[in-house]
Symmetry: C2
Subunit: 647 residues, 2 copies
Amino acid sequence: MNEAKMKPVGEMPDPGRRKFLNTAAFAGLAGAGLSVGLSACNKETAPAPAASTAPMAAAEHLEVGKYEVAPGQLDEYYSFSSGGHSGECRIYGLPSGRELKRIPVFNMDCLVGWGTTNESKAILGTKPNGTPKYTTGDTHHVHPSYTDGTYDGKYMFVNDKIHGRLARIRMDTMETDKITEIPNIQGFHGTFPDKRDPVDAAINHTTRVFCGAEFSIPLPNDGRDMEDGSKYKSLFTCVDAETMEVRWQALIDGNCDLVASSYDGKLAATNQYNTEMGIHYEGMMGAEMDACLFFNVARIEEAVKAGKFTTIGSSKVPVVDGTRASNADPKTALTCYVPIPKNPHGVNISPDGKYYACSGKLSPTASVIEHALVLKWFDGELPEAREAVVAEPEIGLGPLHTGFDNKGNAYTTLFLDSQIVKWNVEAAIKSFKGDTAAKVVLDRIDVHYQPGHGFTSMGETKESDGRYFVSDNKFSKDRFLPVGPLHAETAQLIDISGDKMKLVADHSVYSEPHDSIIIRRDIIKTRQIYNLDDFPHAVKDPKESGVFRDGKKVTVKLTSQAPAFSLREFKVKKGDEVTIILTNLDKVEDLTHAMAIPKYDINFIVNPQQTQSVTFVADQPGVYWCYCTNFCHALHLEMRSRMIVEA
Amino acid sequence: MNEAKMKPVGEMPDPGRRKFLNTAAFAGLAGAGLSVGLSACNKETAPAPAASTAPMAAAEHLEVGKYEVAPGQLDEYYSFSSGGHSGECRIYGLPSGRELKRIPVFNMDCLVGWGTTNESKAILGTKPNGTPKYTTGDTHHVHPSYTDGTYDGKYMFVNDKIHGRLARIRMDTMETDKITEIPNIQGFHGTFPDKRDPVDAAINHTTRVFCGAEFSIPLPNDGRDMEDGSKYKSLFTCVDAETMEVRWQALIDGNCDLVASSYDGKLAATNQYNTEMGIHYEGMMGAEMDACLFFNVARIEEAVKAGKFTTIGSSKVPVVDGTRASNADPKTALTCYVPIPKNPHGVNISPDGKYYACSGKLSPTASVIEHALVLKWFDGELPEAREAVVAEPEIGLGPLHTGFDNKGNAYTTLFLDSQIVKWNVEAAIKSFKGDTAAKVVLDRIDVHYQPGHGFTSMGETKESDGRYFVSDNKFSKDRFLPVGPLHAETAQLIDISGDKMKLVADHSVYSEPHDSIIIRRDIIKTRQIYNLDDFPHAVKDPKESGVFRDGKKVTVKLTSQAPAFSLREFKVKKGDEVTIILTNLDKVEDLTHAMAIPKYDINFIVNPQQTQSVTFVADQPGVYWCYCTNFCHALHLEMRSRMIVEA
């Protein structure tokens, strides 16, 4: 391809797109998805809402106050949310919707010093010049570790779609503690931890994390095979939950989108669009059937043990062959491709472990796949993988993600219909078998405006409790006061405890609440202060403070105790490589200190009993007032130390 | 000073601190401020709240639902908040407390691409290697521009304490458009725009922004005079609100803390602690009286016009002499130092323009300074500056900041008492004159736990409306579900419309809500889409898309229209310096696109009709899927372009 050949869209012959224009799904797009946007076309300035000093009327809100969390009261649930292209994670309280914490993961956070401190850079990884290797990220899915089919409050895992990384967050401190860059993938879309070991019944907790890569690329991606899309492949990856090292990868046809894991530990699943392997937009939606792809974890790990793997490029990770052609015999197959209509998006397992719901996106259906039947296929006892589909109800336009309650009902987001649809799984199965009396769809509720992920309280555990559903929506448009071109997104809270769903709150969220989970508050046990001994370089006593020189390398050790640093001043020389080690000796909950150094671009916090450090070259002579940026005391303003850089 | 002399605090003879220990204020600290913290000492793990599935009881909440904003309803007020050491600003809706937008200012924001795009780097300033000069910041105060004594919705100004910068935010797009680094200062604490011109009555809007530097330093700070604290000085700076260039600076004694401006345009004010000019913590609280310092703007500008100024170091900015010694004669003085008790913190002007409230911090008093009397001093008609103080009520321990309603009442945050105190200004003046019947303090309410800034709805304008007070607090401790060592802060909403203050909501905020303002919603007029012509490099038609080579410099022009980029693929060569220019041709409100490039650390959004660009060296061969990270359409996942980097 040369430059002259790269024509813009308007001039390109476009059979793929024309074909798509003829589908019912696109009619749906034009009718629902686009018109919502177009209705505001050319409106450059938002109308100012009328001024009002009257108290808010709450006419549409049927049970006023029921979902309010009064001052001093605590929320009932935590919501942990991936922050999308903000690169972070967030913790909210529900039902209030209050943001309780931002957890820096792949982003820089100048408050925490994430990307600035030596400790955070060691986790993020650095370039040869010592700056973070990446400063962007696109967090997609956040899922905690399991024990006995429910959350154990130990770890959360979250992925970065841009650079193909998996991060782990310790749930005692709610801080990122490990990041692993997965080799030979692009577009790391979905991730899910396993729930128990497929073989060893004693291991009834998470030990693996499954990772699905969406974009196919030449393997290795070093400049070879760039023109031939048929040579592009994708990998499904298994990471060890403790060491965070990559255990194995599986070469597959098609891409990976969302990921799910079975309650018995035997299967991991990923839905697939673009099984046609298009490398242009137009080529990605031709096939009437894509797939939900299942991985037989035990067989894959046996194959690895038996040496039946290859490696790719400089990576040492064993790669097994999970392609269709190599897995035609169910009895030895590592993978099972279950055909699902048109570009499905989302795969979620029911709390009883029996069914996977995989929605069509461009098909108005949700496919129900029975777990036992997929296992039967792997045993060679089911002639066709498609026979594992036991229901395929038409539920609405643009179905994406499904949450479950504790009564056998499923709640699916409908992107194009801008609705949540409640449907009954067993009724759908009966209907699929021909029972015309089965009432599948039980309720629908409008959301505002385009729902992406949706999820129920405890819904991804066996303790699903049927209290709340949250719809994380795109295009908030007129739901909040106008704030310029970049709008907030909405997380809408829906009470699902009754027969009818009830919209109870519009929570605003900074883009993008890509996916979230709702956890009962009793499950979360956090630390409020650190253990000094967790930090090898801790300055454990103010008497250890001082300036320690080793040639041009200078280490400045100091402590903080409200409202003062242990050193009132310290002196270095121009050109020194200075490492500041700061231990916060305060033991009081919530008594965080910080240190900022003007002109040296340094700012970071130290929580109670924590130690943090920064390293920089003192290249500018003069006096620099290092001050505490985290309010700590009535004399916080006076909490300063003087760095004197001698010329 | 050599290293051996730098002893840690525990070993230092410490007369300053002992002196302080004997003051009543410290008794207050020990009794209130510290004990709040110490009560939780050694509690390493927070108790898990009891599990509950019952709806929240709202026992303490007297008027349930009155302050709730039901789904689909809009808030009545905007709150604009500086984000402290997060380096950003935020927009909240009130009374809901919903965060409607984060505005990146001094921080990096990988969602927006702030710090990544060429356009944002031009505003932030860069190092020789093209990366942002600073990636940290500590936003302190956010104040919008005025016309006729109230907000005109044009600009907001916000300062960075760490690196001494003033940023301007356009309020139509709510985006930072200019950043100015102020020369020869450190610790830029307070800022406030003027409200009209001191001389030209026709200029009845903001044209200047006043900036107070807190830390005194050698001038210039190039390694000279580092040992002699008496040579350290501070500067008060005036920046042009339109050009954002520095107009002038005033050399002063003592530091600058908060800043206020008068309604008639004649005076700027700053409160001062550490007038004793201590360079160690212990030396900063010896004086019984510090000051509130007033600047006579017209006289300073006359002096500059008359050439009565110096310059400092390489800076060309005219610096006038505002020190005490040079301004002893009121009739020619540029500055007036009004004595105020012990380390005051905060200076706020009443909506009628008559009084400044300046609180004592280490004195339990608020000093009321009459504007007309300060002018009288400058006219030589008031013998002592201290006579401008017309009231000094004892209002409680640790008084910091004051908001005003429309009925002559003031609301002051009491850091040590953990309260807001409501007091009447005229009653305080009567009491000061000896009227023992005057009832000064009208009400007190507990807040949780340590209030910093507090402010009333429209309270910093002549349209103060007496509806709400917000207390931005530190140490939320047990007010929210535990989330580990780093807690949320609280912004507590208080209804002040009745005789008694009423706490109506605990809003959680990411550290640190340093200061905020509350604005009626009808004042804010935002744009929802950009004007294509605002961007000189806009790609106005998909047909202009393509790859344009000039030696090793390659420009890739493309457009976005949901759900596709105009180029399905583009090709560059290893080693090329690539500039991608992306124009979002969608005209639909809220239809933002984005582009991420794996392994190249690029991610940024483009709002409707906006153009953004990035420049990088294509140093890795291979295929890189550039994808849209901002959900835009049902086929958002398919919205990709392929960057092919030839080896």
